[in-house]
């Protein structure tokens, strides 16, 4: 029994996160070859990345939720709810700082509701969050009706549209947050608990891990991320929000995490995957747009990506087995 497993280059090069990087490069190369003028034009890459940053905080939160083997379908509705809180308070002339914090606090509160129902009441997270998604968005629709909130702090749009030396500001913030999440999931005891719960919640309980509390904590983090996402989202939308916005964002976030290698049944994957996949999705959607694919067809893409991402591990197993069988016959 040796303590250290030898680090192998081949192993490193074929792990899922690396495959995602190849995929990202491949899309870039295709785009480069198809539209060289556009690709090298200044601002193209920047705007592609900016276009994909509006849901990035949701992706980070969702990765933790999915790692536990749970899901949060209500995050987009939660995000819109947070935007509404901020917007309504701004309309009443409350100081901007308070409005932003109140928005995030709303996210935490709604996340806590999810977390209590999933963790302490023990309901299945799919049902809880689908119901709450309808609930949260329903309340927003009742309050806002067809009105559009337009009064948001300036830094919202700056965050989404500005850049520092050609680097999108949103991406910088995203990568900073992503770094924190990498540390949380890959380095801390809290992250390890998520892996353990995602793999076997019963063993986790028997190992003295407070599964309920941990689940609640993750949904609280998800709530914070919904609050932060509202800043990215409203900024991206040019500083306005209505009750019908952001529909389907939760599915994008789930698809990105699944593509990033976070198993939908929990316990598998690394934080790097969803981070890389966020960029893949941005480039993919933009490239399709350039190819003249209809905007509605792009939604189909999200569905396809999710399906394929969930399928891949299964296909892989069978594929490798059949390849091996064939080799043995030869």
């Amino acid at each position: 029994m040796n303590e250290k497993k030898k680090w192998k280059l081949t192993g490193f090069l074929v792990q899922w996160e690396m495959i995602l990087i190849y995929l990202l490069l491949l899309i870039n190369i295709l785009l480069m070859l198809a539209r060289p003028n556009l690709y090298f034009a200044s601002g193209t890459i920047t705007s592609i990345i900016q276009s994909g940053m509006d849901l990035c905080p949701l992706v980070l939160g969702m990765a933790l939720v999915m790692m536990m083997g749970e899901i949060d379908v209500s995050c987009a509705a939660n995000m819109i709810f947070c935007s509404m809180t901020t917007g309504l308070l701004m309309d009443r002339g409350v100081p901007a700082v308070v409005c932003v914090l109140a928005g995030i606090a709303t996210g935490v509160l709604l996340g806590m509701f999810n977390g209590v129902l999933v963790g302490y009441v023990g309901m299945p997270s799919v049902i809880v969050t689908i119901s709450n998604s309808l609930l949260y968005r329903g309340v927003v629709k009742i309050i806002l009706d067809v009105n559009v909130l337009r009064n948001f702090p300036d830094f919202y749009t700056k965050l989404a549209w500005n850049q520092i030396a050609g680097i999108p500001l949103a991406m910088i913030i995203f990568l900073l947050m992503a770094a924190v999440f990498v540390v949380i999931l890959q380095k801390t005891g809290f992250g390890r608990k998520l892996y353990i719960i995602g793999n076997n919640a019963v063993t986790a309980e028997y190992s003295g891990i407070n599964v309920r509390k941990t689940k609640l904590a993750v949904y609280l983090i998800m709530g914070v991320m919904c609050g932060i996402a509202s800043i990215f989202f409203v900024g991206r939308m040019g500083g306005g929000v209505s009750s019908t916005m952001g529909v389907g964002y939760e599915m994008n976030a789930i698809a990105i995490c699944a593509l990033g290698g976070i198993s939908t049944s929990g316990g598998k994957g690394k934080m790097y995957g969803p981070i890389i996949s966020t960029f893949i999705m941005a480039f993919l959607i933009y490239t399709l747009g350039l190819m003249g694919v209809d905007a509605n067809a792009k939604k189909t893409l999200t569905g396809l990506v999710l399906l394929i991402a969930v399928l891949i591990p299964n296909i892989n197993k069978d594929l490798f087995a059949s390849v091996r069988r064939k080799f043995r016959k030869i």
Binding site: M1, N2, E3, K5, V183, K187, T188, G189, F190, R192, K193, Y195, I196, N199, N200, V202, T203, A204, E205, Y206, S207, G208, I209, N210, G267, K268, R324
Partner: protein
């Protein structure tokens, strides 16, 4: 070769690079009960799957009544009258007994609808000789494990099985239920069914079988008449080495009372249970399955806290409301089902070992992985875990070594009281004795140990004191010297009034 109803010659089966069967042979006489024994991983399960057509052998021949056959699926073997009753019952838990029995061969009326009335009646007829009182309209999940097995047997009979393969049917049965199963098995034999009986228990073999075949390391070791081989020889054939002493010499010094359970009750599970454990002592909690032993342990460990009664650690009353509390007080538990409750099969061994006390390796919440691995490696070496690497997942280990991983997990916590719920369940003979060694060492190290066990030899061999339970109550307490198998059995069947 008309003597045999089923004969296999030089069957080879490989999975990936692993040889699961290295040219094994086997002969089954008509109307005999043939025991198949061997350690876990000896290839018994693969062998059965080859017979039933779940797996196809790479080479070798199979003769059914002298004619060569090949089965491409379990359906084909079932058609030829071969039925297997697996260790883990494979029924549909939410469907009724009738539905399970007639699954795939439903009787239809003229309109093409299912004729449930007729099927219920036929199911009743099939079940009646096995268990006259069983209601065939009940869902499978409402039955005991023993009853579920009877349903599987009835199902096999409904398909006119001539050869029945039973894979460790007695593994989770009580003594009484075993007797019942023996009787039924003998009846089947008398009706001319040939039976392959896979088991770990010598009682099963002596009671039922006329011949025994032993597999070891995927190889055929031999076949003997049961009355011509001694227990000792058989064990050494199975293990491949001499096994001098199953139970180690006790070395622990028994000290002060560490842990006291005082009159704890839990509605519907157990009532007024009291016992204590001293330092270095192993107290066995025994009784029939369903006597409430596991539930008592789960209560102590905080999985389901008791309604009334108290726990005392070193004389101080403690309140354990969750496993987390239990660990904080120094009470650890090795759960009964290591796959479901003890292991995280996808994570590396070292992370399994440290999972119950990660705080030790954290600073500001960040895990020091090097320190963690070093500690895990230390514990794994201490209990002589056989693994390729501590980076490997526990799913790559044998049952005995998986259990050692759970032991290492407990060692990593600073514990005083260890609860071991069926520590050798599903572990082969060779690995069992090393588990006993570990228990002995732990006792010597000053742990107070509570062991739940259904195996009488294990209880008598390991325990310093024996607490017997029946239907949720303590019905007897015995010291090591005075206890006999008969006394324990008597106490575990005794009616109501709480003893000693």
């Amino acid at each position: 070769m008309g003597d045999y109803i089923l004969e296999l010659k030089d069957v080879v089966k490989t999975f990936g690079g692993v040889q699961a069967l290295k040219g094994v042979s086997f002969q089954l006489k008509p109307g005999e009960i043939h025991a198949l024994m061997g350690e876990n991983g000896a290839g018994k399960s693969t062998f059965i799957k080859v017979i039933t057509g779940v797996h196809q052998p790479d080479s070798g021949t199979m003769l059914l009544e002298g004619e060569q056959v090949t089965f491409r699926s379990p359906l084909e073997s079932a058609r030829m009258g071969i039925a297997a009753i697996y260790q883990h019952v494979t029924a549909f838990p939410d469907l009724t007994v009738t539905e399970n029995i007639f699954m795939g061969q439903e009787i239809k009326n003229k309109m093409g609808f299912y004729n449930w009335k007729l099927m219920n009646q036929k199911a009743k007829e099939l079940i009646a000789p096995l268990s006259p009182t069983l209601d065939v309209r009940k869902p499978m999940s409402a039955l005991s494990v023993a009853e579920q097995q009877l349903v599987e047997i009835a199902k096999a009979l409904s398909r006119n099985a001539r050869i029945m393969i039973m894979d460790e049917p007695t593994a989770s049965l009580t003594n009484h239920e075993c007797e019942e199963l023996y009787r039924i098995t003998e009846n089947l034999r008398d009706q001319g069914v040939s039976i392959i009986f896979i088991t770990h228990k010598f009682e099963d073999m002596y009671r039922l079988a006329s011949r025994v075949t032993v597999f070891r390391d995927a190889e055929y070791i031999g076949c003997w008449d049961v009355d011509q081989i001694t227990n000792h020889d058989l064990i050494s054939k199975m293990v491949g080495r001499e096994l001098n002493q199953m139970y180690p010499e006790k070395t622990a010094q028994i000290g002060q009372v560490v842990f006291e359970v005082e009159g704890i009750s839990k509605e519907g599970y157990f009532k007024d249970v009291s016992f204590d454990v001293r330092q270095g002592e192993i107290v066995a909690l025994t009784g029939l399955v369903g006597a409430g032993r596991t539930e008592v342990c789960q209560s102590i460990f905080g999985i389901m806290p008791p309604d009334t009664g108290s726990l005392k650690l070193n004389g101080q009353t403690i309140h354990v409301r969750s496993p987390k509390d239990a660990f904080r007080f120094g009470i650890g538990m090795l759960p009964e089902d290591r796959q479901i409750q003890g292991l995280i099969n996808e994570l590396p061994i070292y992370q399994n070992v440290t999972s119950a006390a990660m705080d030790k390796f954290q600073r500001y919440g960040i895990i020091n992985v090097e320190q963690e691995k070093e500690a895990a490696l230390g514990f794994c070496q201490k209990i002589q875990l056989k693994a390729e690497s501590i980076q490997a997942p526990p799913s790559s280990l044998s049952g005995g070594n998986q259990q050692k991983v759970v032991f290492a997990k407990l060692l990593n916590c600073d514990l005083k009281v260890l609860i071991l719920d069926e520590p050798t369940k599903g572990i082969d003979v060779g690995a069992k004795s090393s588990i006993y060694e570990i228990m002995n060492e732990l006792a010597s190290g000053g742990y107070a140990i509570i062991m739940v066990s259904s195996e009488m030899p294990e209880v008598l061999g390991m325990a310093d004191r024996i607490v017997v339970m029946k239907a949720g109550r303590v019905t007897g307490t015995f010291d090591k010297g005075e206890a006999t198998q008969e006394m324990i059995l008597e106490a575990s069947l005794r009616q109501k009034e709480a003893g000693a």
